[in-house]
């Protein structure tokens, strides 16, 4: 008799604990999210939001969010940051975590407003630039957005759509003039023509060398796959090239390219010189070969032996087997190589400016020379954006090219 109510009581107590546990579970910390939240709060409350400088070279004065923005903007931004940090820190539903995009948009608008707010009226020498707090928050919320997107596992075309939307948003902000007060945009305004010429050169260098490396690398990879004796030798040479520092490679190339320019008629007229675009192009091409060739070899080696044997056994010629069976099956791996090369080349093309090859590196090196950080950023930011966009697009394409995905779609 005594035991019965006792056990019932225990039961109730257990139920209570379970209720409290599930309540706690709803508010449990998210490991990555907690770090993101800490970073964002640090960025918002400890680090400065914007830097004010009397002109483009002098040391700047750091301004916190409160100092850098009108009251309504600063409170608004802080509220958004706090809300986003709270969502990040706890295990919240994944779609809710997309609030990161709102925080990013808030940052983007606020920094433009800060530029207008901090610049004294009529002063065209003063420079306003984002300070560490802005960058830390940009990084934190960028990470949160990327993490949320990854958890949602969007289809490849959705990822590209998100990229396009983000770029369009940035494009609209740029065109609307709301960032015009920022020092980065002031540097841009005084270099509009050269900026786009260098951008063209940068893209031409990165893409051109990629195309050349693909055209040469894939046949080389196929050759390596078929002729095993060649494989180790060629991959060894390409590996060795990969380890030569880029500056050294430019130096090494000056002599042979100079000789070609001097001795082969017509070479100089099409732009081959010891310095300039030619050695930059050649160097990027050489660096690109290893990933393309190696991935082609790996991709072809990964083709199921059965499929290859059956293809031969039912009467495909070597060429038909290569085009119809081996290449399509190896394609996603080859594409991965091309992705590596493209992202690597967009970054590496910056170095081309050192030997007069042009590209975004021109601004980076000028900026370093003048200790003008904004100018460095004018070269670095587009490079990073380009590389990032290229990586997202190619990752999506690779996923779409994988047989399993095509199968899923066919179903």
């Amino acid at each position: 008799m005594i035991g019965v109510p006792g056990s019932a009581c225990r039961c109730r107590r257990r139920a209570d604990t379970a209720g409290r546990e599930s309540g706690l579970k709803a508010l449990r910390f998210d490991k990555l999210g907690a770090i993101i939240a800490a970073l964002a709060l640090g960025g918002a409350f400890i680090a400065p939001f914007a830097t004010f400088r009397a002109n483009r070279i002098v040391a700047g004065e750091a301004k916190t969010i409160i100092e850098a923005l009108p009251l309504n903007w600063s409170t608004g931004l802080l509220l958004v940051v706090l809300a986003a940090a709270a969502v990040a820190a706890f295990r919240s539903p994944v779609p809710l975590r997309l609030v990161a995009f709102a925080a990013l948009a808030g940052l983007a608008f606020a920094i433009g407003v800060a530029a207008g707010f901090l610049t004294p009226a009529g002063n065209s020498y003063a420079r306003i630039s984002p300070a560490s707090g802005f960058w830390v928050m940009l990084f934190a919320f960028g990470l949160l957005a990327a993490d949320a997107l990854t958890r949602l596992r969007p289809a490849p075309f959705v990822r590209i759509a998100v990229l396009v939307a983000v770029l369009a948003f940035v494009g609209i902000l740029l065109l609307s003039g709301s960032w015009d007060g920022l020092s980065l945009l002031k540097e841009y305004a005084s270099r509009v023509d050269t900026f786009w010429a260098e951008a063209r050169k940068h893209v031409t260098l990165a893409l051109g060398s990629l195309v050349a490396a693909t055209i040469v690398g894939i046949p080389l990879g196929i050759l390596c796959h078929r002729v095993t004796q060649l494989r180790d030798g060629l991959l060894g040479v390409l590996n060795a090239i990969q380890t030569i520092p880029s500056i050294a490679l430019f130096g090494i190339l000056i002599a042979p390219l100079g000789w070609i320019a001097a001795n082969i008629p017509g070479a100089a007229t099409i732009g081959i010189r010891g310095i300039g675009v030619a050695p930059a192009f050649v160097a990027l091409f050489l660096y690109s070969l290893l990933p393309v060739v190696a991935n082609t070899v790996v991709g072809l080696a990964g083709v199921p032996r059965d499929a290859n044997d059956a293809a031969r056994g039912i009467g495909m010629t070597d060429w038909q087997r290569l085009v119809g069976i081996e290449f399509p099956l190896a394609f996603p791996v080859i594409l991965t190589g091309i992705r590596i090369v493209l992202v690597q080349n967009i970054g590496l093309a910056t170095i081309a400016a050192l030997i007069g090859g042009g590209g975004f590196g021109v601004f980076v090196f000028q900026g370093v020379g003048q200790t003008a950080m904004d100018l460095v950023l004018l070269g670095a930011v587009p490079t990073v954006v380009l590389a990032f966009a290229a990586a997202i697009v190619l990752d999506a394409v690779i996923e779409m090219a994988k047989p399993n995905n095509r199968q899923a779609e066919a179903r």
Partner: protein
């Protein structure tokens, strides 16, 4: 008819296939059996020139198999392998259509052929045609592999351990299906296996290979009664001999006049199955029903025991 004449394949000093001669009658199933490394697969692959012989000749219907480029020869000869070898990035229908497409058939003819073969292999064309190989079960993949091999209506079909990756129940079904298909298309089949059970189940003729040589080439019953060497004997399995002997003959050939009690058994079963039924039912004899169901006589333990006895 396939004539293999003094064919030899050497890799360096080792002869993988050593001076083999076989004549294979059209519309029959020949099974090449041997342990691994006996050269059976190499011999098979020399028929469609996936492997070029060091010396000797192979003729198909009197024509030397080197009179055509290898790939053209192979389009005329069906080829099915263990683990099916389907192309993972192509649908079932595309896989089956491979050789007809290579041969430049018209689209409508190819589609009709794909549909015919899928139906024949008990795969609904509408449901299975657009699927990819990895969405099929092992047994279905294997059937598609054989269907692909038969798509261009080859007179000869080469099979390299085609059922090796299947579980026993699906394998037995696949073997029955293969025999039905073989009768349907009147294909000459050469099949390589290391499984003696499979050889007895399928073969009109069995060639036993050991260390690159054919040690015996005979019908299953001949091989059971007169094994050429102790190697053949051990491959057959001494303990299995009487049962194998019963397994290769139908009940119809062991029917005795007279009547018996019990449930009748079909004359189309093998004598081994009849023996099992007799032993299991605890009777000395059972009535036998003909194809139309009418009782045509009886089958007895004594009669089967006589038939299972080896030569004295």
């Amino acid at each position: 008819m396939i004539e293999i004449e003094n064919i030899t394949k050497r890799y360096g000093e080792t002869a993988v296939v050593d001076d083999v001669s076989l004549t294979i009658a059209p519309r029959t199933v020949t099974v090449i059996v041997g342990t691994s490394g006996s050269g059976k697969t190499t011999l098979l692959r020399m028929v469609n020139r996936l492997v070029e012989p060091t010396s000797g000749a192979i003729r198909l219907d009197g024509e030397d198999n080197r009179s055509l480029p290898g790939y053209e020869l192979r389009r005329r000869i069906g080829y099915a392998i263990q683990g099916h070898g389907l192309f993972p990035h192509r649908t079932v229908a595309q896989n089956i259509a491979t050789v007809p497409t290579l041969l430049g058939w018209e689209r409508s003819r190819i589609d009709a052929k794909v549909e015919e073969l899928l139906t024949l292999f008990q795969l609904d064309p509408a449901a299975f045609g657009p699927r990819f190989p990895h969405e099929l079960s092992g047994g279905q993949q294997q059937r598609v592999g054989v269907a692909r091999a038969l798509a261009a209506e080859p007179k000869v079909l080469l099979m390299d351990e085609p059922f090796g990756a299947l579980d026993p129940i699906i394998r037995a079904k696949a073997q029955d299906d293969l025999l039905a298909i073989q009768k349907h298309f009147e294909t000459t089949i050469i099949l390589v296996t290391h499984d003696m059970e499979e050889a007895f189940q399928l073969a009109d003729h069995i060639a036993v290979m050991d260390k690159g040589k054919v040690v015996q080439y005979a019908t299953p019953s001949e091989m059971l009664l007169k094994p050429a060497t102790s190697f053949v004997e051990s491959l057959i399995g001494v303990g299995e001999r009487p049962y194998r002997l019963l397994a290769i003959a139908p009940v119809a050939s062991a029917v005795e006049p007279g009547a018996a009690e019990g449930a009748p058994i079909s004359s189309a079963l093998t004598q081994r199955e009849a023996l099992a039924e007799l032993l299991w039912s605890g009777r000395n004899a059972l009535p036998v029903a003909g194809p139309d169901g009418a009782i045509i006589g009886k089958i007895s333990l004594e009669g089967l025991a006589r038939r299972a006895a080896g030569p004295t």
